[in-house]
Symmetry: C2
Subunit: 239 residues, 2 copies
DNA sequence: TAGTGGTCTAGACCACCTT
DNA sequence: AGGTGGTCTAGACCACTAG
């Protein structure tokens, strides 16, 4: 849960950095000082700092200290798993979700292979489009294993599917493998998306797993190319 | 360096997983057992396991153990910073780099803003294309700060720029911020790339920083859309 | 209940930067 | 030389899963 001491320290420090209460370019207090401030041992402080470093808040330099990085200059979405709803809440635009299809189906061969399904497993297929200011710019095709999600309604799909999954069903998402490619717009794209003169869509295919390591969902998210943007922070692993 | 005990343990275990000496879906030995095997304390083992978890090798489950994930099924490039040369070495295709331009220049206003440069700082501008089996599919435009890279030759640019930077100059890359978008092909794309009937390119813009947190390089990497693929592994942070 | 991973601690030693 | 972060240890307690 969110009550580990090092998570609390991480949250406190990342908030200070976001609010620019600690200036970018300056040094964080030393690990020993932070230990006194938060009444924590040095290893606990170091866990919080390692998390800040992974997420692009600080750069640690041996013998010197932890430099605060400039989080404001770049639009900086902590790269990871965020649902559409979480994204939409951060922006000023009006988003809307339309559910075009919701069926319980027998998976075809391709889907069975991709999701590694048994013969008797049924999946929910959900097709939704996401509109910003009246323009449909994202087409989402979700496939969810019925064994894990027994019931699904259009109403749930129109609001937040992830809310339902995590809060109501109590399932916990663990990780996802994603693949990004660019493809020609297909029939469904033209039907459901407000296509500009562009003829391409960015396709993000994800395999989503629970904390139990069970595969849970396959998603194909098709973005109008001119509206797509992906931001990433990556550290070099010197081994 | 790469001689930390937990890195050695990480390498040993990740290699075993890659070689499928430990089957996907099975459990790793317990942390205490691993501690005995590697003659390390539990916290050191846990550091190695945390790294395996971050990189998609295992899923830890409290009270149960560490499940080995299927690394083989997906083509699985540890998402992070890898240079062109490192990528090319993994594939069977013949790659080739062509240097089209190499100049020391005064940055224009836009570049000065993006890279946060002083008035007197000069930058190396390098334009290169990358060909696979004779087709030019990637166009790289690099801008390197001359204060950090005093000398640069076409020969270096044609071989590995990163080798030179890390081994000869002794600079250490720390992290990068990347942004991926899709854009219409421009004049330069048409000149340097073997364009198929596609009219779009995927543009990856990166700000690359040293371990000292100094900005070092700005890169615009333009990929022929049909040859672009980006794979990512992401964990959900439950806070 | 026993065994697993999750967290936290206090202390030690090393490598690196600064003066 | 003194202070910083980097690593490692041994031990403790908690939370969760299993039989």
């Amino acid at each position: 849960m969110g009550k580990s001491k090092f998570i609390l320290i991480y949250n406190a420090l990342s908030e200070k950095i976001h609010k620019q209460e600690i200036a970018a370019g300056s040094l964080l207090p030393t690990e020993n000082e932070l230990g006194e401030q938060f009444k924590a041992s040095r290893e606990t402080i170091r866990k919080a700092l390692a998390m800040l470093s992974r997420n692009g808040y600080i750069q640690k330099i041996q013998g010197k200290g932890s430099i605060v990085l400039d989080v404001s200059r770049q639009n900086f979405p902590i790269s990871g798993l965020t649902s559409f709803r979480e994204l939409a809440n951060h922006s000023k635009d009006t988003w809307r979700t339309n559910v075009h299809q919701l069926v319980l189906m027998k998976p075809d061969d391709h889907l069975k292979m991709v999701m590694n399904l048994h013969d008797d497993q049924m999946v929910w297929k959900v097709i939704r489009s996401r509109s910003v200011n009246g323009e449909a710019v994202i087409l989402d095709k979700d496939y969810l294993i019925q064994g894990l999600v027994p019931i699904l309604t259009a109403d749930i799909c129109e609001h937040s599917l992830y809310d339902y999954i995590e809060n109501d069903l109590g399932l916990k998402i663990g990780f996802a493998k994603k693949e990004i490619t660019v493809e020609h717009a297909g029939v469904e794209d033209k039907r459901y998306l407000t296509m500009s003169r562009d003829t391409h869509v960015v396709v993000v295919r994800s395999l989503v797993y629970l904390e139990s390591a069970e595969l849970f969902q396959f998603t194909e998210s098709r973005h109008r190319a001119d509206k797509f943007r992906f931001v990433d922070f990556a550290r070099r692993e010197h081994q």
